[in-house]
């Protein structure tokens, strides 16, 4: 909490109250949202997934300063891993597997989450290793290529053996079930019946909160300092004894784990995935969340993710009625409007808030009388 409200740093009571209030809001949010429409609860669940993705990308881009335009590949890796391990696809296509697992694959979430994280981390290293010496634009281009390679593989790996079912995607993916409670059916807690989408919302929020805690702890650690040092001056970081190769690979791997877990959850939530969900466009949206919110600043990244994830739902609800009221007809389709607003938002943020909507507060104090902050009055 102290990261979100730095002014409460010294008050433990305030921090506990804030944690409690935020927790209560997160619990009650779907009930409020469902008053407007059930689609909103679904959008909130997706927002929580995007928070995970944005936080993962933030480790690579924000903490270590490595621009990554192919981040969605890790989301895809996690999603396909879960889809293959929890759908009839493999047993249908490989009789040998069907003989070995007559009930088909049904993987537990306790297996899938660590496995998704580990597999994505592996792919993170696979991407990271060849790009270690690249910086800036060159790094961006190679990572972009990596994202596309993964997608094109998924699109074409239906031959010679049908591994991914190509453009048709994989269907009949199991829902998540925790301790025997399937999240696909409404569940009763203390006499309240919670629809499936609520359950997923709670699961995703829980995972997002865990991601936030992990992000904060990493940022404040020895490793977080090493990332920041590399971002600031790589040569000096090396000379200070930081093994920049390993530390960068760790950034790629740890960032990817968030994407892998989020992907597995996405797969279970949707019950169907296809390569279409993992285009360059998605990578750019996640990057936009990080940049729009405040690169490197965890609260800002969360804000950016929630805003951009909720925007389509907001537009779906407002674009048509507002235009009807204004012009008597629908001039711009909601989907088109969304892209226009993304673009506009990015341009405006870059012009007026280049460090994001909720940037990190000035790190450390400024020494009085230095050129950059001549009119400073807020010292000590």
């Amino acid at each position: 909490m102290r990261l979100f409200f730095p002014q409460w740093r010294h008050s433990k009571a305030a921090a506990i109250v804030a944690t409690f209030v935020v927790g209560a809001c997160l619990v009650l949010l779907p009930f409020v949202a469902s008053e407007i429409g059930n689609a909103w609860v679904r959008a909130l669940a997706f927002a929580a997934l995007y928070v995970m993705l944005a936080l993962g990308l933030n480790i690579v881009v924000g903490f270590a300063g490595l621009l990554d335009l192919g981040y969605i590949a890790f989301y895809a890796v996690g999603a396909y891993m879960y889809a293959l391990l929890a759908s009839p696809h493999l047993t249908n296509n490989f009789p040998a597997l069907a003989a070995a697992f007559p009930d088909g694959f049904h993987s537990s979430i306790w297996l899938v989450i660590p496995l998704g994280a580990a597999l994505a981390a592996f792919f993170g290293v696979v991407l990271g290793a060849p790009v270690l010496k690249l910086r800036g634009d060159y790094l961006a281009i190679v990572t972009l290529g990596f994202g596309e390679i993964i997608r094109i593989f998924l699109l074409n790996l239906n031959q010679p053996v049908n591994l991914t079912n190509g453009p048709q995607g994989i269907t009949l993916i199991d829902p998540v079930s925790i301790l025997g409670v399937s999240l696909a059916r409404p569940a009763n807690f203390f006499g309240i019946s919670l629809p499936s989408v609520y359950l997923y919302y709670y699961l995703f929020v829980l995972l997002a909160v865990v991601s936030v805690v992990i992000s904060i702890r990493l940022q404040e650690s020895r490793l977080g300092r090493a990332w920041m040092a590399i971002r600031e001056d790589e040569v000096a970081a090396k000379a200070m004894g930081i093994n920049t190769r390993n530390v960068k690979l760790l950034a790629f791997a740890l960032g990817a784990t968030f994407g892998g877990v989020a992907g597995a959850m996405f797969s279970a939530f949707q019950g169907f995935i296809s390569p279409e969900s993992f285009t360059l466009h998605e990578s750019i949206i996640v990057l936009a969340m990080v940049v729009l919110g405040g690169i490197g600043h965890i609260p800002g990244v969360i804000l950016g993710a929630v805003m951009l994830a909720m925007l389509p739902e907001f537009l779906r609800a407002t674009a048509v009625p507002v235009q009807r009221a204004l012009f008597g007809e629908v001039v711009v389709d909601a989907e088109v409007l969304r892209m226009m607003l993304y673009g506009l938002a990015m341009v405006l943020v870059m012009l007026y808030r280049p460090k994001g909507l909720w940037p990190a507060p000035e790190h450390g104090k400024q020494r009085p009388g230095t050129a950059e902050n001549a009119p400073s009055a807020s010292i000590v």
Binding site: A236, G241, I242
Partner: protein, 265 residues
């Protein structure tokens, strides 16, 4: 104390395209010395520095620290072996605080992992506290403790130089290599720097110093090597070196008239 020198470097050659930047350069530094490396502009001092600290890879040469050969192929290994350096143009981490800059220097001597950080284990928390404490002590040692929470880039020039020394000391070096630490300092700052370097030596860290300020070098160092055009032209005590005709010629031009053409190369 053993008789092997702390640093023994011999036969270093480094070529940049058509320019032989270093030819057969070697030095031996005894424990507890302040060793000066001087020479006119472009003599190869910084190149030599970059070679022994692993930023440039040499074409040839043998490298030994504390009796053990070390490979100057990767800077982080050199730092781990026990050579820490500063840069001619200060290279701090500008957006990090002074304290954090020094804490980064502890990286190479600490071990907590990503998993330890995520789980916030006891060992990790204890190590983090030790890092912070040591960094604070070092800031006090070099005399910038009051700026611990200030961004490094906002420190005064002389304080940035001192902070860079503190960051290098945080790696627990056997040899502290300083690339023109007095550059751009005024007379008072230079005097204070001299005191600091003498303290560091007293506390058991050997110092290798590149410096232009001849007065500072002569007053402070125990031994001096003079480079010119990538070659060692003299080595000895400051007193001997000052009177060496080759050194006088290198600095003042002497009778040779081809200095200008050599400079152009």
């Amino acid at each position: 104390m053993s008789t092997t020198p702390l640093l023994r470097v011999a036969g270093v050659n480094k070529r940049f395209g058509g320019l032989q930047a270093l030819s057969d350069v070697g030095i031996e530094i005894e424990r507890g010395q302040i060793y000066g490396l001087i020479g006119p502009n472009g003599a190869g001092k910084t190149t030599f520095f970059n070679v022994i600290t692993g930023l440039y890879s040499p074409d040839s040469g043998s490298f030994e620290l504390d009796g053990k050969p070390y490979s100057p192929s990767e800077p982080h290994r050199v730092a781990a072996a026990g050579i820490a350096r500063t840069f001619q143009n200060i290279r701090l981490f500008p957006e990090m605080t002074a304290l954090e800059n020094v804490m980064v220097g502890r990286h190479v001597r600490t071990h907590s992992t990503a998993l330890g950080a995520v789980l916030r284990t006891r060992a990790t928390r204890r190590e983090e506290e030790a890092i912070r404490q040591r960094a604070a002590d070092l800031l006090a040692y070099v005399g910038v403790a009051k700026y611990a929470d200030f961004q490094a880039r906002t420190l005064a020039y002389g304080d940035q130089r001192r902070l860079e020394i503190a960051r290098a000391l945080a790696t627990d070096p056997k040899l502290l290599a300083l690339d023109e630490p007095a550059a751009g300092m005024n007379a008072t700052e230079k005097l204070a720097l001299r005191g600091l370097l003498e303290n560091i030596r007293k506390d058991g860290v050997t110092i290798l110093l590149i410096e232009h300020d001849v007065k500072l070098v002569m007053g402070l160092t125990d031994r001096v090597t003079v480079l010119d055009y990538g070659k060692v032209i003299a080595a000895g005590s400051p007193y001997e070196v000052q009177r060496d005709p080759a050194v006088i010629e290198a600095y003042l031009g002497g009778a040779h008239q081809n200095v200008a053409t050599k400079d152009a190369a």
